[in-house]
């Protein structure tokens, strides 16, 4: 944590996350692979395994999914990092959302919106699957962990089980030393 609050690191977080904010189609989960690429591969701020762990910790906490960026910011640069990451990743998209809201009545009926919505849907799904893959690469360091990942994916895809239970079962299996 020696780089806590370093202006360079904070500026880096602010610019990277602000740019990603505007392409987070389908929410934060769509940009996790890019956040992973930047913080793990480009900057080397943490390992892939640590990234997957932070994601799991964020899932166990209440609040919007987007809170994972606060946790990543915290890991990189302490409390200032968490605040900068949260504001940078929610600010630009919120301004865009407010601007779009002003047009909402026109957008509601327009053919353009329907086309854009149909085009972005599959793209967002592809990016969410990419996030799952990225996290699994960091998290699955044993065959037990790989089985857990596959079981959790199947549970969510084909049943109505509460995701929190899936996480807790995973933690229990891990506690037993099987992951």
């Amino acid at each position: 944590m020696e780089m806590t609050g370093s202006p360079h690191v904070l500026t880096e977080i602010a610019t990277r996350f602000a740019a990603l904010s505007l392409v987070a189609i389908g929410g934060i989960n769509a940009i996790l692979p890019e956040i992973h690429r930047v913080v793990v591969d480009v900057e080397g701020w943490m390992t892939s395994g640590e990234f997957a762990e932070l994601f799991a910790v964020a899932q166990l906490a209440p609040g919007p999914n987007a809170m994972v960026v606060a946790l990543i910011g915290w890991k990189v640069a302490g409390i200032p990092g968490a605040l900068v990451a949260t504001i940078a990743s929610c600010g630009p998209s919120s301004v865009a959302c407010y601007a779009a809201w002003q047009w909402v009545d026109r957008l509601r009926t327009s053919e353009v919106r329907a086309v854009v919505q149909r085009a972005l849907g599959p793209l967002a799904i592809g990016l969410i699957l990419a996030s799952g893959y990225t996290l699994a690469r960091g998290a699955d360091r044993s065959s037990g962990a790989l089985v857990l990942t596959i079981a959790a994916a199947a549970a969510l895809a084909w049943t109505r089980v509460n995701p929190l239970w899936v996480l807790l079962v995973g933690a229990a299996v891990g506690l037993a030393g099987l992951a």
């Binding site: 890019e34 606060a70 990225t134 699994a136 229990a172």
Partner: protein, 164 residues
């Protein structure tokens, strides 16, 4: 509004916004969620911006934003500090390893579920598949990839629409 942060997940937001406070009708809520999913950014955050704007304009948006982010960020920091203090414990490490393997599966399963429900046409599968391979497996930078794939996706949908 801060109480929404505790719910976080969408079903909770719906209950408070539609059933309890009657800020929106069920149909308006569904429409807004659709809009929030098209717009970039966290869906629940976008939703609070729009609900704030409906009632009190830009100030309402800012207040809603602060409400939905403040409590979760504080909670997250508390959890982060707690996590840092126990993270080196071997038992905690095991539990976190299991939870992170499950969490990766949860995201993957969410994607599979969305795909099953949306049943995209072949052109959608191609765009989504390309996004998965390029961004997930090859770990290519997202910004150029997304620019190219959005252009291709919109062109394909626009073209398909003309033939209907």
């Amino acid at each position: 509004m801060g109480v929404l942060g505790f719910g976080g997940v969408l079903p909770w937001a719906r209950r408070v916004i539609v059933d309890e406070r009657r800020w929106l009708s069920g149909r308006d809520f569904a429409e807004l969620i659709g809009l929030c999913q098209v717009l970039p950014g966290p869906n629940v955050v976008n939703l609070s911006v729009i609900i704030g704007a409906r009632t009190h304009g830009p100030i309402g948006s800012l207040i809603a934003l602060a409400g939905i982010l403040f409590v979760p960020v504080c909670l997250m920091l508390a959890i982060a500090i707690l996590y840092a203090s126990v993270a080196s414990d071997p038992l905690v490490r095991n539990a976190i390893a299991g939870a992170s393997a499950s969490a990766a599966g949860l995201i993957f399963g969410t994607g599979v579920r969305l795909m099953r429900e949306a049943r995209p046409p072949v052109r959608g599968l191609v765009v989504g598949g390309a996004a998965f391979v390029a961004v997930g497996i090859l770990q290519w930078p997202l910004l150029p990839m997304i620019a190219v794939l959005i252009a291709i996706g919109i062109a394909a949908e626009w073209h398909a629409r003309k033939w209907r």
